[in-house]
């Protein structure tokens, strides 16, 4: 016990603030459990971004400290506390999961830190819980399924069965779909989520099939995506109940599905604010270098994390490295004056991006690797539906 505490003491002195000219960024993501596959992709993208900027933002050295949320809100909050209190970071970024972000937001914001979500976009934080110090480089949860709802209307789909995990983002996704989809939702299943998520969907798929709906809308991110897609095809639903998904078939699940020879997903359509095929210089460099370094296409999680690093860099350069002037830092972030891999976008009053949403199709590239490419623009310069509830100007 005594030895442990003296070790603790020694470590605490080692961790004393270093007075170098550096910017510390705490990056919270999932590095353990099956969801670590997403966290790893984000971590790779952040490392690549730091490499691309030569380890410097302006004159400041970049120091990224990663924290593992273990796919649990409580652990996410603890690790955010640690980054804020012990490491005294200048920015807190990351967050895959909406419920983890909702649990952790106070820890970062109460300490006066600037918080940047590189994925999660819970409706609360776009609406009445919006904060001048909170920014997103992704989207508000409702938006991607809203785009899918538009696609479904264009296709003339009249009835849908809906499946999503039972957590904050799952509920937002369903709400988003309901905002734009004009047909009826004949049935809905919210399944257990988290480290012990439900992965066998036999009962739900049988219900969906029996419901007589014209299509099946799902949201199953990360490890659940492969399991779901596989069972959907094993159940022979492809022709009876066409699949419309968001955040399910993506850069994370495609390599795995390809390895298992699962060609049923080729040709499926999904909506997203970014795609590896988007034609701009920043994106081309990002995708090519990511593939060269890590051997796979980056996912949208990676793209948004890469963007967050360059967004911070643009703000630091704008204020000449003076992080004490937080008003100026905030204003510089809000200007979004950097080369985003999704192309230029602006920030709304609630600090969520106003951006395009695309319809993408799963295809095999020239080398035979499975990826996605842009089919068409579904929503142009779209703002999330909660912006009006946010008191910020």
């Amino acid at each position: 016990m005594k030895r442990i505490i003296s070790a603790a003491l020694a470590a605490s002195f080692l961790a004393a603030p270093a007075f170098g000219a550096e910017v510390k960024i705490g990056f919270v993501t999932t590095l353990t459990t099956g969801a670590a596959i997403i966290g790893k992709d984000m971590q790779n993208a952040v490392d690549l971004a730091v490499e691309h900027m030569g380890g410097k933002m302006g004159d400041l050295d970049v120091n990224v400290i990663y924290g593992d949320d273990g796919f649990k809100p409580e652990t996410g909050k603890q690790v955010t506390d640690k980054l804020v209190q012990q490491d005294n970071v200048d920015f807190v970024a990351g967050f895959i999961w909406s419920h983890v972000l909702l649990a952790s937001r106070k820890s970062a914001l109460d300490a006066g830190k600037i918080l940047i979500s590189t994925n999660a976009g819970p409706s609360q934080m776009a609406g009445d819980l919006c904060d001048k110090n909170f920014f997103s480089t992704s989207w508000q949860n409702d938006q991607t399924p809203m785009a899918m709802g538009e696609v479904l209307n264009q296709k003339g789909v009249k009835s849908l069965y809906v499946m999503a995990p039972n957590y904050a983002a799952g509920k937002d996704m369903v709400a988003g779909l309901e905002r734009t989809f004009k047909g009826t939702i004949v049935g809905k299943d919210l399944t257990k989520w988290g480290a012990d998520a439900q992965l066998d969907f036999s009962a739900e798929l049988a219900k969906a099939k029996a419901s007589g709906a014209e299509g099946l809308f799902v949201f199953y991110p990360g490890a659940a995506a492969g399991a779901f897609t596989k069972q959907y095809h094993q159940a022979g639903l492809k022709d009876i109940l066409p699949l419309y998904s968001v955040f399910t078939v993506d850069g994370i699940s495609l390599p795995k599905l390809q390895k298992a020879g699962f060609d049923g997903v080729l040709g499926s359509k999904i909506t997203q604010e970014w795609d590896p095929s988007l034609d701009n210089a920043a994106n081309k460099k990002f995708v090519a270098d990511f593939k060269a370094k890590y051997g796979t296409y980056p996912s949208f999680y990676a793209a948004q994390s890469y963007d967050a690093m360059f967004l911070i860099k643009s703000a630091i350069e704008a204020v000449g490295g003076d992080l004490t002037n937080q008003d100026a830092v905030r204003a510089a972030i809000k200007a979004a004056n950097y080369d985003s891999v999704r192309g230029h976008y602006t920030y709304g009053n609630n600090n969520f991006p106003i951006q395009n949403f695309y319809l993408r199709e799963v295809v095999a590239d020239a080398d035979g690797n499975w990826t996605t490419r842009v089919d068409s623009i579904v929503m142009e310069n779209a703002q999330d539906p909660y912006a009006a509830e946010c008191p910020l100007k």
Partner: protein, 321 residues
Amino acid sequence: MIGFSRSARINIGVMAILAILPVFFWWTGQTFYLSLATRLVILAIAAVSLNLILGYGGLISFGHAAYIGIGAYAVGIPAHHALYGGMDFIASNNGFFQIALAVVAAAVFALITGAICLRTKGVYFIMITMAFAQMVYYFFVSIEEYGGDDGLVIDTRSEFPLVNLDQPIVLFLVSYVVLVLAMWLVNAIVNSRFGMVLQSAKGNNDRTVTLGYNTYLYRLTAYVISGAMCGLAGALLGNFATFISPEMMDWSRSGELMFMVILGGTATALGPVLGAAVFVVVAQFLSELTIYWHLPFGLMLIAVVLFARGGLSGILRGKGS
């Protein structure tokens, strides 16, 4: 008797370190280590409460995290309604009300479930306590109003006159005092006639019954005291974390509490505190070294079980018998 005074010295020494170090951290501005110490002390209270029935009573509860959850929600739900309205009869930030609610709710839950659980024995008892805890877990998952699976952010800490729990050092000192009181209470119970009957029933229930004691009632009383104490720990944890989710009462959390007690040494005064300390401190430092920290941590647990009988307090006391 020499052994006794030696162990008393160790107890006082460890508890003194546990009081002085965090104050030192606070004084030097190491907020994070102070909050680590607060978490340790709160979990130690829960482990001490579990040790009363597990260590001295031989009742292996695999559902004690439910009481932590009940205690924390007893802080979170009134605070939630005080801020957002609704359920006026319960909406309050008053700390005395919240603490009382936590203790009473936990005690009532312990009374009802204990009355059923204590009819079973051995591993069946382990599993039925777990079953009731899982029911509470899924109960809170199903309530949308309090965040369901996503959990509930506690915006306002319990309010007391003169004592401001928003200050980390105050929260620590309050928790520490509660821990010392809990240890004192368990010690007093164990050395009373009541405690003697409880321990005798652990050794040989039939003989104790033959001696004319209704061991069922004794065990139920201990079970309720333990549950209430753990509910209090939950109320403190809610104040500490300012967040509560059903995940905090998952079976694996009940398991962790159990492991703290076994690791530290069952039926010892200091064991639960040592066990909690290892779980909090070692886990924190290993997890900073590598994301694969479960590997060395798991090996450590196996090694302690295989090679150190009587847990950590056994090692501290210098093995012996």
